[in-house]
Symmetry: C2
């Protein structure tokens, strides 16, 4: 009989679901909407139903289901307790126990979505082959995850890898969504990068292609920088400097083999990666300096892969 495992990436809008073989191949994937009504109380039911349907479709019994791994968009402790997942409307409960009960005792492992994505990149993505890595995701927000010895570092309150909230900005610091000032996220998220560019263009009078674009995006900034636009280059250099400082701090704490850069902003590719690496080399302690820099390769599937790894790699 076919043995399979589910990797579930539970997001605020959709749930990405994947079927994996025991050796880690993704053989099927689909999405269902995240129903946040009634304090998110239908979410786990919907996931269970989708799993049961898929089992029936593939003619697989629960006996041959190796388990369900799930990434949650909020803090979660080592024992699987979610702590007020506000964007789902959830309070405090053990999601591993509850989902397992709903699936008649199937093995369930849960983790924070960013940490789980880091595990995915460690398993089959940009950090494959390295047991000690850090993922930094630069998207709408800035997040990340710390993997040591191929395992997720969860931390006392499930808040390890909260790289977006490292206090790197001292001067002219903006208020972050978290309420603090000067978080990495305020300058290294897509929104933050655009805001910094707008501030620069207002402050300085240099000509720039960006001045001709209404509501320019983060991609416009990188495109302009790649073409040598002075203002855009200043913005990218400053971004790289903050990321160099943050990764140097991370390196001094956990000394990873590889630092993987992911999220939408990382689509700027090697151009951005090289600049971060250059600043890292200036700021990092010599004994940590040989950390490699790599781009994330799993994109939006990283969470699904990592969730499956929770089961298949016994994390």
């Amino acid at each position: 009989m076919e043995k399979i495992c589910f990797g579930v990436d539970l997001g605020g809008t959709t749930v990405k679901m994947g079927v994996f073989t025991p050796d880690g191949r993704l053989i099927d994937s689909w999405e269902i909407p995240t129903d946040k009504s009634d304090s998110g109380s239908h979410i786990l039911e919907d996931i269970c139903k989708s799993i049961e349907d898929k089992l029936a479709e593939r003619d697989v019994t629960k006996k041959d289901l190796l388990g369900v791994g799930i990434g949650i968009p909020g803090p979660i402790t080592k024992d699987g307790t979610v702590l007020n997942c506000v964007n789902l409307g959830w309070g405090v409960f053990n999601v591993e126990e509850k989902l397992s009960e709903m699936l008649d005792g199937v093995k369930v492992k849960a983790g924070n979505d960013a940490n789980v994505a880091a595990l995915g990149e460690n398993w089959q993505g940009g950090g494959q082959g390295f047991e000690d890595l850090v993922l930094v995701t630069l998207g709408t927000g800035v997040g990340g995850g710390v993997i040591i010895g191929d395992k997720i570092i969860t931390g006392a309150n499930g808040a390890a890898g909260e790289i977006g909230h490292m206090p790197v900005v001292y001067e002219d610091a903006e208020v972050c969504g978290c309420g603090k000032k000067g978080c990495l996220e305020t300058v290294a998220s897509a929104t933050g990068i655009v805001r910094e560019a707008n501030k620069l263009l207002k402050r300085e009078s240099m000509p720039s292609k960006l001045r001709d674009i209404d509501d320019f995006t983060c991609k416009d900034i990188f495109d302009a920088a790649k073409e040598g636009d002075e203002a855009a280059m200043i913005v990218v250099d400053k971004l790289a400097e903050y990321l160099g400082i943050a990764t140097a701090h991370i390196a001094a704490v956990t000394n990873p083999q590889v630092i993987v850069i992911g999220g939408g902003v990382s689509k700027a590719g090697k151009f951005l990666l090289d600049k971060i690496e250059e600043k890292f080399a200036e700021k990092a302690f010599h004994a940590c300096k040989n950390a490699k820099f790599a781009l994330a390769t799993l994109g939006n599937d990283a969470g699904m892969y990592g969730a499956a790894a929770l089961i298949l790699c016994n994390n």
Copy 2:
């Protein structure tokens, strides 16, 4: 027959050696000089001889020796390979294998001295009862160690916990012993604190008790600050701010339960601890904010304790 374990803290000047019972009681301790002649090639011989003598004295055979744990003042990998321990004159070799061979196959476990001290504080010191902790030692230099799940985090090159080299100073940054500018060590080591005080007194004209003391020490600064001396208070506040920033970075990366402050500078006690905690509360992400702050309690014995824990706690 009595079963024992040795905890050895190998320093640049002396080797501190302790005998521990299987349940972790220190029942004997002494020191021998560190003989750095001939590229430190006599150091392990001297340690072996001292161990053999102690075994004879206590009438214990190697069969009843549970093992020897040893802290090394330099980077060391997970498998026990020291990487150019410059202050001993050592090159690259596996110290666990070599020492074990010299002791007829006794179990030997080695770790970096700062990391091992962190394990000691985790085991029986200021971090006792917490499995996730970070030790920050403020002494002649600034060092530390990261413990997760009661285990030392070693890192790719044995450089995890190199907290003294976090690049926290952006303005008016001094060159660190490591060659980089702006390391935490340049402002938070005993020497760094005194230098910052001298810079302030030169820059500002305020009266201060410190002006009446030739070559004032770090302790003089804390004593003056405790008595309300304005200049000394500015120095201590700035120190606390840098430590608050560094510990907030650490918390965002590993989210420890407790942050233990040790080293000579920590003799300033609760006065300093409260100030660091206050700055940490300003800088740290809310989900990491409930980290406790504690003073190290094992003093110079932390390395010996941690070395014994390498054996007795199966680290």
